[in-house]
Symmetry: D4
Subunit: 251 residues, 8 copies
């Protein structure tokens, strides 16, 4: 029931003033919430909800998947363990698990037939950055973006990156995933004119401080058009890149 | 001269083999550079070059403005002091200075008549964040984006933010500038479905560590669609937002 | 025996001067200690002692519970493992264990019948913050406060928090438990006019540094009426909230 | 105009449905804001607004004081410089400045006659902590609390603290201000059973890191009933202590 | 008046019970304080009080010197500026100032004739560490220790240190003052078998973090017999070394 | 095929213009890459490729060794586990594993007969630094340098280091491996006039922060001729030392 | 052979000049080493060598004990695991292991009969600090000092500490072991006039950062006569305290 | 007098045994020192001593230059201010000052005619890194190396760096000076096979922490052949590069 209907009922004496007042008092928040869900739905176009699986108890995890199953919708679970996959699979045989990205997803038939749009380039500095890159790439694909994977093009072998430049420049948005020195993001941003989302990874040893070194490198880049998400936050990068890709595709 | 022309000249014996070889050897880098400049030019559409004024010597600064003046182009100078403004003004009377954003710019007539496109919302948590926000806003305007300023809507008075929500949601991209606790970025990202660029500021005292506290808050936000630039980096946010805004406007 | 009695005995020659001197020399500290215990007892009204179980050896733990059992009093054990619960249970079958809060408590019949007073609201940003929140809530209940639990109202979904605002405002004191960006404390403090105790949790990954990010957010909040306890220190928050709640109830 | 009146007007056809709808749509936020202001007013009982003066431009500062003067209300300015005092004084001769606490306040006649209630003890470790302590104390007094000052009772001379214990215990809330090692808060919390608000100060040198050392000491205290505010945040402590003192006085 | 006398008076009815009770209640703390002052006096043998001058207001500083002058005692002021010296000199012409160590002292005739005892070696890594070393050395001398100065023997020129080894080994306690890498303390401790007090200094640049680098080096030394005081804390080292030197001299 | 040949073919009409254009466009990067590989080959003189084994999946590891085996080249694997050794050994029985340095290498017959040149001294502070030192030493040997091992000469027993000084001075380059306080690098650099590469190790406890303490000591050394690599980066030091040793041997 | 003998042989032509030169060149370092060992022996009076067991391989550990056994001397092993104890016991049945302090020692009959001298007070803040305190205490006892244990006297229950003050003051040197807030060292140093060695422990959680919080508290203490050793470095404190105790006993 | 001469005198009875013994006892350290000076002299071939001017008092500075002038040698002063230049110039008119590198040098005629050898490439990321680069370059030139300056080739405009690659590869050693993200060192090390010395600079703002960000980037680089010196330590890099350049030139 929306504001307009309540006011009509008031006008038509179909409702008590006090009751209308109560309804209206609660409404803004519900409305707000509803709007929030609404635009989210419009964003995701029926792709479903996101669950951060790590640290969830078995019971919590199952309850979430159950509720979503009843609503016949899609679900994207991140940071899932193999154990969680096996647990969920017992009840929801459709669930799919990728052991590299650790994404545990259910897709509706409608989503599987969805036509991927635009282009997001996902680059990594090394092979060890691939798990984070795959979390980003598969998140973007789950939400409907086409993804171009360009892995192991770190600056220690710059020629590999340069030979892929034309492809990278063709994307609407670039995700640069790198650990250790983390210079990849800045190098790419200096070579393209599209938004670059840098994802530091916790790969490395010694004074890399679990990714802080790469994070600082990225924040301090003097290349224009670069922004940063949290260490290892492939999901966040994939989600944000999808927002930008959709804007570019006018969706 | 591009590769094609050189090869034609070789074929037609209009050029020595050795000379052609020399030209080609240097070309890729020049090409690369040229491409870079090229797409930059397409990005900026004749708006000009960017100069980080802080720390530049008087001589360096003047030489840069001189070179740009000769090319009859525009220039965006950031972090300029009033002294630098007065210095440059002696030689280039057209130069404009904004003492809040510390932007020192020259605009060509063509640029001044340019029609601003799309919409970027620039929000701040408090009034002390305004200098950084203005650097972002004026950068975006310089590069052709329409800007909506929504200042002093920090989370200590949440109702002010909520009352502006419709306006914020209408933008293609939101820049959230905040110091101290820095929660503004996450709150906005939780309420809209457009990319949010969070800019931590060095405003605050005590355990804020020159903006690190706000930076960490923003990096750790669990709201989706949020990325972060360096502390006080208003320019970077304005530039990146323009890239996104242009994508959304298909420019 | 107090000072007054000793002096009377001196006056009445019922005690040697030297003996009185010895008694008095030790007294201030014992008195101090006694006073301390005394007001603690008055604070806790027979609810018992607190034990930080983590790291205690089995022998140490049993000795403490034994001493308390003999005195027929209550005991609140925090950070207890299931193994410690099973150990203690063998000897003290009345002991109760909550695996979420990890609280291991014995309550006397008198305490169980105690009427809970006032109101403390315990809020969390996410579901992963619940263990810390429960430590706070159950500590407050153990010491006699009524607790209102409002979980999973983090700022990424602000409407959920706003819809609970009236309830939160009705409490004498609010405990805000949040990890990751940790903005919940500041948001609540900006919406109510009661003391808010913020508890950062070590939930998160990347640049959250085991809760330091949330801690800094909370310390730097510009909302008035907010103070902070150590990361994951649910017990400390519950204890402090009880002190404030009692003041408000004039107990 | 509140919800009730709008609905009556709708019922009585005194207002267009569309107009009522518009009014109601904006209302919740205004209501929220209003409520906020309202409870703040009830908290402050006509004592006025708070301004963080540091970093405010002369123009900004004057505009704020002007607006408040017109409303004939009180104002508490913190971190004001002597220059700001002299500026404001020109236009508002009633303004008062304390060079130790750096508080710049205007009090209405009504406020000056207000009867201070309850008791807050403000303690410091050394004499150099006094400016922060005075910010706390004068904030508390401004908002109507009686304050007991107990300065220079740091743990290097424990006997001074112990000799004041009875007085400290008589307060509803204690503010412990200390720099360097910052142990004062924990020592006091171990000796009293009232809420203790610890304020680390940036006093010290070497590895004190501008107050971080004292901050960490306070956060890690194992004494019960202790919480912490930001480094040098005397205002925050005074405000929070007033909230607790009012609860204890049932105001 | 001590406990024994009070009890006698009680016994002899020379004092009211209530009054005796009051006296006894306050006594322990006064006793404690007195004892503290007492042993301090025995430590310092009439050498006087210590004042940390930095940050003291002119008024505070003068009041302290005045009180001490009246008592005809000695005073050791540390971290004094030349301005403070000139201020104090106006009122107390006997005051002496050393611009290197920044010590501002008044010595009684009795102290000036005191025979220095034992031996403390004060070593520095470089010439820039000398101000901190002099604070240590002059503190030790003020409190009655003989001091051996061995400056500029840092590990970059190890032979200089080795050539002084016999002298260093003859001291009861060694103070090793060093900035930058701070390895001096560990090197000396590896060569002698007396307590070594390491003082990190804030000398250096780059990643020395105001002395933290030297501090960490010293804390992590694997040489036995080494302990550390705060960065630049020459006074603390000189005081502690005097305690050890006195123990060795049985004073 | 190089630029010259392509141009000749163009001139002689032996190739289509378009095809030549394509070849040339890709060439610079391939050239660049090739050049890189080329000089690397000249550096390594047929010694092979380097693999960072840690974190590689079994499949990845085998594929790399397989590719190298086919090319009949040598391979240096660092940070290999015993499990990885056993895996690789199944397929490549020639592989050798050193459990101290964790180096997993295959050497061609040609490499095994190679005459080691020059001299690199590898020193350690303690016995626990030996694994990192061996990674450095064996890397240097793998790439053709003669290595002099001087272990356990830390500054806590300076005489051991001094007694080896002549040998150390005879090397072209010194690698100083040390944890805890990490002063070894500076001490050696102060005693020799050859480049010293300092390797901090993560050995230690308490405030050594996983090697950061030693790292800072080394960075802040005032001895000339010292540079630093990442914590525990024995491979990097061994590789760099080989570059210097080869320069000194004019290879 | 010492310098004197060599010179005599030169004088008497019993040795070649060249040979004498060689012997003399090496001598200073050997001499130095010898002196070092010598004074160590005089320090330890036959108590033996110290081994840091943690991280030693079984082979290394056994070789060390074997060498020491042959010399019929004593050995103090720190940070030993139970496994290491069982390993060593097989070969050296006399070895003793304390599972709290993790000290693994062999004492000669002569040492066991040694009369302990002087007095060192070892205090802890809580029961969890006892392992570090025992490492300190048993180290001091191993090297011949009498030790007074005063445990669990942290500042949260100040009266317990005060009631032990006379005993503490009777010691020549005090070791204060404390984690969490770490204020114990400063409190004791403020109450006694003997050297206090503060040992921060890694006990605690949240923002204690593995003992850094306690370390900073101790470094920043404004109490005089306090120095600090590394986190958890009980051995270092026990060794240093013994040096001071010996000085006080003139041994 | 050296060992050989003393022994001869002993043999010839030209010296007392006791006196010879005394001379020999002190000699090793003097010898060591002498050797040190000796090889330093051979390294520097009459180029002179190095003075770190910053923080030196006027008196200290003059005394050093005076001593060196008397010896008719060269001197390299680093981090000199213009004031120091003007002071020194009064007494030593030959002194030269470069206001960019802040080097204050005196060169003998012999040194000025010295033929520079080999080649060191000094590269910078931006123009603001030039002062540090010039300190490195001029240090290297002072000590006899030929220097190739390649400035402003940071990774944000990679083509500029690539176009200079041949020149960079021709050097014996490369110094890479960069602030902000600091990726230059790793990029160059990935493109050349000579030792690269990375110098982080304190240029930048926000989360660059005075150069720590660039330092960490460089330490974590996965490119081979890279080592790092302290932030802004141009002198250290120039000195070390000279050592390597000399090795390559066999000098």
């Amino acid at each position: 029931m929306d504001i307009h209907k309540i006011l009509e009922q008031v006008k038509n004496n179909e409702i008590e003033l006090k009751e209308a007042e109560e309804l209206l008092k609660k409404m803004p928040y519900e409305d707000l919430g509803f709007a929030k869900l609404d635009h989210h739905r419009s964003l995701r176009s029926g792709f479903g909800e996101v669950v951060y699986c790590q640290g969830k108890s078995n019971e919590q995890l199952l309850r979430i998947y159950e509720r979503l199953y009843e609503q016949d919708r899609n679900v994207l679970g991140t940071r899932a363990s193999r154990e969680q996959y096996e647990l969920v699979k017992k009840y929801f045989p459709k669930v799919q698990y990728d052991s590299v990205s650790r994404i545990l997803s259910i897709r509706s038939k409608e989503q599987e037939e969805y036509q991927l749009i635009g282009c997001i380039a996902v680059c990594t500095g090394g092979t060890s950055d691939i798990p984070v890159a795959e979390e980003a790439a598969q998140t973007a694909e789950f939400f409907g973006s086409q993804v171009l994977r360009i892995y192991d093009v770190g600056i220690a072998g710059l020629h590999r990156l340069l030979s892929k430049l034309d492809e990278i420049r063709s994307a609407n948005c670039i995700i640069a995933v790198a650990g250790m020195e983390g210079a990849l993001g800045g190098v790419i941003a200096g070579l393209v004119d599209k938004p670059v989302i840098a994802v530091p990874t916790s790969i490395g040893y010694g004074a890399n401080f679990g990714g802080v070194s790469a994070l600082l490198t990225m924040l301090n880049s003097c290349a224009e058009g670069l922004s940063v998400v949290n260490i290892d936050n492939g999901f966040g990068a994939g989600y944000l890149a999808t927002q930008i890709n959709r804007l570019a595709c006018n969706k």
